[in-house]
């Protein structure tokens, strides 16, 4: 494949607050090939949106960023000031969760799309408006010529999100970052939006990062999925591998916590006990250890190293799920009735 389109190495993001430094992102690495779709999943506060905003250079000035972000061979954090304004929004664009707040309520939809074209590509007014109609048609909005003259409040949530997608595509980006693009819409609309993004990505050979808390969405749409927890990337693998044979206990716990439509009603769910750790002065231990059924004494001694067996997946765990070590550690905890961190293990469960 040659060199990846985007490559992120040891990304760290810290926010100074009155209570101390918040380690929002703590050493994240990933690559995206051209035309690929990477899913980033995790719960609220795991750092997935902060990662996206860092890539888009949208963080507040107080944020302290370190690490390498290379886009198409170029160091993104060192782009010359003069070229910056036509980098973000042209080569790399983003779609946000709530379409109503990403559109200007007092401007017609067409003008908002045309504005992007005029600013970045120096198009004239008429040309830009004609292109806006084209774009609305490409994102599957019926009667685009009428819609360009409408205001955002006149459109349904699904159509608004399509307008936002049209804006993001206006300058033919090479990478589109979609941060929870379908969280605010209904399932039938969600399916149509995801189908649309898939189709656009294939037609244009565009790369995509899809950030979502919905594991089902990631499973159905992404080539590769990265799981984040407490600011770290705990596991990354090809989608099918991740969902069928997860290594990190957090990934496997997440998969078991969601109700599935193919299970009978009243199936007991397995929640993940406890809460994610504080990101201020994190302890020098595996962040998931207090909630992990596999945890052993050495899990509390330093952050686990990232295991890369060059089999296309990485994970950061000493007692990975679905392996002999993991099973042994779990059985030992089960026999003791609790883990070293005091997490009680109530009923016996089969392997995990």
């Amino acid at each position: 494949m040659g060199q990846p389109l985007l490559s992120v190495r040891d990304l760290q993001v810290r926010f100074p607050t009155t209570r101390g430094l918040v380690q929002a992102v703590n050493g994240v690495d990933f690559d995206i090939e051209r035309g690929a779709m990477l899913g980033v999943v995790g719960e609220s506060g795991c750092g997935k949106s902060v990662t996206a905003k860092t890539l888009m250079n949208l963080l507040p000035r107080t944020a302290e960023v370190s690490g390498e972000i290379t886009f198409d061979g170029e160091d993104v954090r060192a782009i010359a000031r003069s070229r910056r304004k036509h980098f973000w929004g042209v080569k790399m664009t983003m779609v946000f969760q709530d379409p109503m707040t990403s559109l200007n309520p007092v401007k017609r939809c067409g003008e908002q799309i045309a504005e992007t074209l005029r600013y970045h590509l120096n198009m004239g007014h008429d040309e830009a408006m004609a292109r806006a109609v084209d774009l609305l048609e490409q994102v599957g909005i019926p009667e685009p010529a009428r819609r360009v003259r409408q205001f955002p409040h006149e459109l349904s949530g699904g159509l608004r999100q399509r307008v936002v997608i049209a804006m993001a595509l206006a300058c033919e980006p090479e990478l589109l970052i979609a941060d929870e693009p379908t969280t605010a819409v209904d399932v039938t609309v969600q399916k149509r939006l995801l189908d649309l993004l898939d189709e656009l990505r294939r037609d244009r050979g565009m790369s995509m990062i899809l950030i979502t808390h919905d594991l089902g969405v990631a499973r159905g749409r992404c080539d590769e999925v990265a799981v984040m927890y407490a600011g770290r990337l705990v596991e990354r693998a090809a989608t099918e591998v991740l969902f069928s044979d997860a290594r990190h206990p957090y990934t496997s716990a997440l998969l078991r916590t969601i109700p599935r439509i193919d299970q009978p009603s009243h199936t007991r769910l397995e929640p993940i006990e406890g809460r994610p750790p504080e990101l201020i002065r994190p302890a020098d231990q595996c962040a998931f250890a207090p909630r992990c059924r596999h945890a052993q004494a050495d899990c509390l001694d330093g952050i686990p190293a990232v295991v890369d067996n060059a089999d296309g997946r990485i994970f950061a765990c000493r007692y990975p799920a679905n392996t002999e070590d993991g099973r042994r550690s779990y059985l030992a905890n089960e026999a003791a009735g609790r883990t070293v961190t005091g997490l009680e293990i109530a009923q016996p469960k089969e392997t995990n």
């Binding site: 159509l159 399932v187 039938t188 599935r260 439509i261 009243h266 007991r268 769910l269 006990e273």
Partner: protein
């Protein structure tokens, strides 16, 4: 789609709550009205969990609020243990209210941020003059333990708890008055998946422990399947399909139910993924289509669907009901 009719109502002593021909309309100007709920009938047996699913604007929350009389009912009957709640007012209604309690979607905004959570949970009892006394405090402790909140944190305020904990406090508050019916309006949609599982398990535990009858509203089909005994699928103020949870998922008959099941990220195996490609947008509830309300988007619609409203009817005499002129025959469908 679009069903009125009483076919799905069961007779018998076990029926605790029965809703018949419920219509809720909201005037928005002198001429126009939003037809939020238009002729919905169903019943809930004692100890049953009834799930209501549907997309935004289908009227599921309005139904819930209408049952506890938070919305004014335009017409229809909400019969609870033999009394029509819609006919009650003032003191009579107030007397019934402890028996029907509700929990809401946003756990944080449904708790008063300035009050200690012990007071929040006790308030219902205080209103009924049972707020003091050691017996009450013991009961509050028991409730807090039951939902997994340590009673020693009773003096804390809502902002000191996470979203999942606030939702559990909301559940404890709803249970303080020992209700018969618990109405849950999207109780887990604002929560992360790991916390969602905790709250769903607690709702199941509370149902077993306090013998609750539950009305569970959600847009998430897998969540509804997990907690419900019976499910109603709604679209634009009407009932599409009613049946047992297993039946609705194993043998969906209504084209809209099938579209929903095919649209979720990991589609049900009983439908073809292409059935999720329904066309167009939700029609305006101010001016809903005549005939079947799903006719503008239904792949099977014929002339009769535009002129005549389908009634809720039993499928082959079973307790699976569908309101459709052309219900999908399961024999020819995929994977069934």
């Amino acid at each position: 789609m679009a069903g009125s009719g009483h076919a799905a109502l069961r007779s018998g002593d076990r029926t605790l709550l029965s809703v018949r021909d419920l219509v809720v309309e909201f005037p928005i100007s002198r001429r126009e009205r939003v037809h939020a709920v238009s002729g919905v009938s169903f019943d809930v047996a004692e100890g049953e969990t009834l799930g209501i699913v549907g997309e935004s604007g289908c009227g599921k929350s309005t139904v819930a609020r209408a049952i506890v009389q938070l919305n004014k009912i335009t017409s229809g009957v909400v019969e609870y243990s033999g009394t029509d709640l819609a006919q009650l007012d003032g003191e009579a209604l107030r007397k019934v209210r402890p028996e029907l309690q509700m929990i809401f979607q946003d756990p944080i905004s449904s708790l008063n941020p300035r009050r200690r959570i012990r007071d929040v949970i006790t308030e219902g009892l205080s209103i009924w003059n049972e707020g003091s006394g050691s017996w009450t405090q013991e009961r509050i402790d028991e409730l807090m333990n039951a939902v997994g909140i340590d009673p020693k944190f009773g003096d804390r305020r809502p902002h000191q708890f996470s979203g999942g904990q606030c939702q559990r406090i909301g559940i404890a508050r709803a249970l303080a008055l020992d209700p018969k019916v618990l109405i849950c309006d999207e109780p887990v949609s604002a929560l992360d998946v790991s916390v969602q599982a905790q709250v769903l398990n607690i709702i199941e535990d509370m149902k077993a422990r306090y013998g609750l009858t539950i009305l569970f509203i959600s847009h998430d089909l897998s969540v509804v399947k997990n907690v419900s005994d019976r499910i109603i699928v709604m679209y634009l103020g009407k009932v599409c399909e009613i049946g047992s949870a297993e039946e609705i998922y194993a043998r969906p008959r209504h084209p809209y139910t099938r579209a929903l099941l095919a649209s979720i990220p990991e589609p049900a195996e009983t439908v073809d993924p292409s059935e999720g490609n329904i066309i167009g947008e939700l029609p305006s509830p101010m001016n809903p289509p005549t005939g079947c309300r799903f006719n503008t988007r239904c792949p099977h619609a014929t002339d009769i669907c535009f002129t005549e409203e389908p009634l809720v009817a039993a499928v082959d005499g079973s307790d699976h009901f569908v309101a459709c002129h052309h219900p999908v025959e399961i024999a020819v469908s995929v994977g069934a």
